[in-house]
Symmetry: C2
Subunit: 483 residues, 2 copies
């Protein structure tokens, strides 16, 4: 919200652990994976977003004198450690799945290989940014899927969880497929389309609805969407809108982008009547735009009922991902680099099998079916493994390893999803505009089937482990089991 250095945007325990590592002279290089466990809203996929802001955060990571002064005031940090923080910056490597990509549960979305103090400090901010933007990009993709080609506009700023939530949420929503946002600051910061017309207060500040419409139309004739539900949609609003459109037509004013917006009432019923009234008056190209607590489920439902709406304004339910407002990404230690340069795998146990982490320095391949271009499966393996796509590949479900599938050599392609972002502390990743990311995301969404996008019980894309990784995990589980 103000001039903030985000270095202290972290949990205190990251700093107490850092001091612990510092005091124990622990300078090990470690591997941390950021991943998530369940798709939002019980969906079949997610969209990752936020990498650009993570890059900015990592680039700017430093403790100001002010920060150090504050930490000193807590009386838990010693002078040598505080001194050490003065020159602190990120020196490690980061790999990530590109923004706008389709992603699946349990695969690393972002991998940090860095001295343990650095890798530990960045946990909280990395998760905060990745969780938030991936959540909203995913929700937006779902809403746009329901809208089935109609334009979806994000306009939830007033209900977002704070300014950033609105600004970066709108960014993520556009990546996920929204054609624009009402949020002017997002428009300015990220060069995305900003959209909007007027509120009920505009109508109420004039002596009557007709005068309010007339005045608006004279000011914005080329983008004239009139809000018709301030007093009574059918008996007043649409009639006044038609009157104004007719006057415009009679005056020879070109009606390029014009129509009505409804923000209350039964949108299926009202839109059908509105469509007929507009058509009968000769305004068959008038847009009917709707808002009011919309989400992907309601849009799908309204469409199935034949609602005559072709533009959707989505607020609260998108910007907060209301039915599933947390993405649940976690950041787990996966390996420690030994002196000989190899990675010693680490595992976190849990009573719940699916919560046991995948150990080791890993990467993720996406396997595409050559014939359709669609995703066949994702494949997590050790970073050192190599594959020959000319040969058969046997996939198996790591939770139910008897479930196997053989991919015939030559029938599939493999793409490494984790790409280098930072190398020895230097960013080597390009910056994309948000509209470029939206385009990337559109292509990504075409790599899965409608069956994976269905809202109810969607078909799952498997994320499998390589033989080597699976064996390593089993060996560690045996070693670690406490009896």
């Amino acid at each position: 919200m103000s001039t903030l250095n985000l270095t202290l945007l972290t949990d205190l325990y990251e700093l107490t652990m850092m001091q612990g590592y510092y005091k124990s002279n622990c300078k090990e290089v470690v591997v941390f994976d950021a991943f998530y466990r369940n798709n939002p809203c019980n969906g079949g996929y997610a969209i990752c977003a936020g990498l650009e802001q993570i890059i900015d955060y990592i680039k700017n990571l430093h403790f100001s004198e002010d920060d150090i002064e504050y930490l000193r005031s807590l009386q838990i940090f010693e002078e040598d450690f505080l001194d050490h923080l003065r020159d602190f910056h990120f020196t490690g490597d980061i790999y990530a799945i590109p923004e706008g990509s389709i992603i699946f549960p349990r695969e690393p979305l972002l991998k940090v290989i860095a001295p343990i103090m650095e890798a530990q400090l960045i946990e909280t901010a990395v998760l905060n940014i990745l969780n938030h933007q991936s959540l909203i990009a995913t929700k937006a993709a779902r809403v746009c899927y329901a809208a089935n080609g109609d334009g979806v506009m994000e306009f939830g700023l007033r209900r977002a969880q704070g300014p950033d939530s609105g600004v970066y949420g709108a960014r993520a929503a556009v990546i996920g497929g929204c054609k624009g946002t009402s949020n002017v600051l997002t428009g300015k910061l990220f060069d995305v389309p900003v959209l909007g017309t007027h509120a009920h207060s505009w109508i109420m500040s004039f002596p009557d609805e007709y005068t309010a419409f007339k005045t608006y139309a004279s000011l914005y004739p080329s983008a004239c969407i009139l809000l018709v539900d301030t007093y009574d949609t059918l008996k007043s609003g649409i009639l006044n809108a038609i009157r104004v459109f007719t006057e415009m037509r009679n005056a020879g004013i070109p009606l390029t982008y014009y129509g009505i917006r409804m923000d209350s009432g039964d949108l299926a019923y009202l839109s059908k009547i509105a469509r007929k009234m507009l058509d009968d008056a000769g305004f068959s190209d008038a847009v009917i735009s709707a808002s009011n607590d919309l989400d992907e489920y309601l849009i799908e439902n309204l469409k199935s009922q034949g609602a005559k709406i072709n533009s959707w304004g989505v607020g609260t339910n998108l910007i907060t991902a209301k039915d599933n407002p947390a993405f649940g990404g976690v950041y787990k230690l996966a390996a420690i680099k030994s002196e000989d340069g190899t990675f010693l795998p680490k595992i976190k146990l849990s009573e719940n099998t699916e919560k046991v982490t995948n150990p080791g320095n890993k990467t993720v391949y996406r396997i595409y079916d050559k014939a359709t271009g669609k995703i066949r499966a994702d494949y997590i393996c050790l970073a050192t493994e190599t594959f020959d796509t000319g040969k058969d590949l046997v996939l198996f479900d790591p939770n139910e390893p008897w479930k196997k599938t053989r991919l015939t050599g030559g029938s599939y392609t493999m793409r490494e999803m984790l790409v280098p972002v930072f190398k020895n502390g230097t960013c080597i990743y390009p910056s994309y505009t948000v509209m470029e990311l939206q385009e990337i995301c559109t292509k990504e969404k075409n790599t899965i089937w409608d069956e994976n996008k269905r809202f109810v019980n969607p078909s799952k894309i498997y994320v499998d482990l390589s033989d080597k990784l699976y064996q390593m995990k089993q060996d560690l589980l045996r070693e670690m089991s406490v009896v």
Copy 2:
């Protein structure tokens, strides 16, 4: 997140309407009310928060050359209007219910009296800030109520909807009653306690759990909470913790604040066993701290099952208000000042009676029962009305006006809840520290009964209208009805 001027943190339609008012030479002074319609989580009250940030926003409101350049690039604003924005600042009055107060649905929380262009522009940011912080403060009050005197720590930063959501969410959580936050930046910005110990990764980065505990205890002997569930809570974690505490005791290290934290498993079951194990080893003052998807319902439930937990770490469900992630505050035109200085009331109709707005330039009185100090009702009236608490006051439900209650003169007190914050564009409201706001909030929470705080079907406190306001509303409804 970065050096941002928040003036453009607004919906585009606020600016298109502003230009509309400018072009129509509309300089009317208007009254807007911000209010909400339903208590979060079907509760009996809410807590308002965010006023300090709204004040900052209003004080800093200005269009930079950069902002104007951006608006020009949109090609919908004309040069005279853009020129006008150069000198734009807020010149109006703002009244608000103080931060940390108990609030109820449909009463104005914040009232703006300003030239229409100014009042319109600030709608989005005011709602964004008020909605977010009031939501989290309310959720925190609920969680703390369930914890029934135990300390509650906010630690949801990694799951918050972006950096601000974490930073200002933690601020609101402390106002609502949390004893501290894990969020270091919130600690620095608002001087609130920051708390935390270590993560599973700390344990996993050592050869074994005992060494990890031992190292931690030697670094932080005076605040030594050990995380016991990395491998196996009962068979490993608690045993190692007891071993380390015993060594500390034997070495004469004072055990001031120490104990364990559990982050998985059945917390009721595990905490009872843990309590017994710690007690048996002579550590009956060891803290048992718990986390893992906690919220007010689970905490209440664990307590009712006799869980031996006395410190609660609450993350995702608090910082996102997961079961109710939007507050739903709205901002509605209520009156327009006429040339003679009186206020012409305005009303927005709706098919839903409860959604019809309350017209006029209003204020809110809180009526306390003199004998108990508890709130009897809130009372919305015209700003010009005066009352004599020596006389009887008849209250009635505005939706069911036949439901009446008579308060005997002398048995009640009245307090005006809306207090002046800005006068002619100048802030006249003091700044409170977050810990002062927490204290205010604690007192406020004591003005309602347990029956109002119950999570299931809480008893409602009425928000009534004065006779004059009720009549004004009925008159307007009659005038406006479209037949």
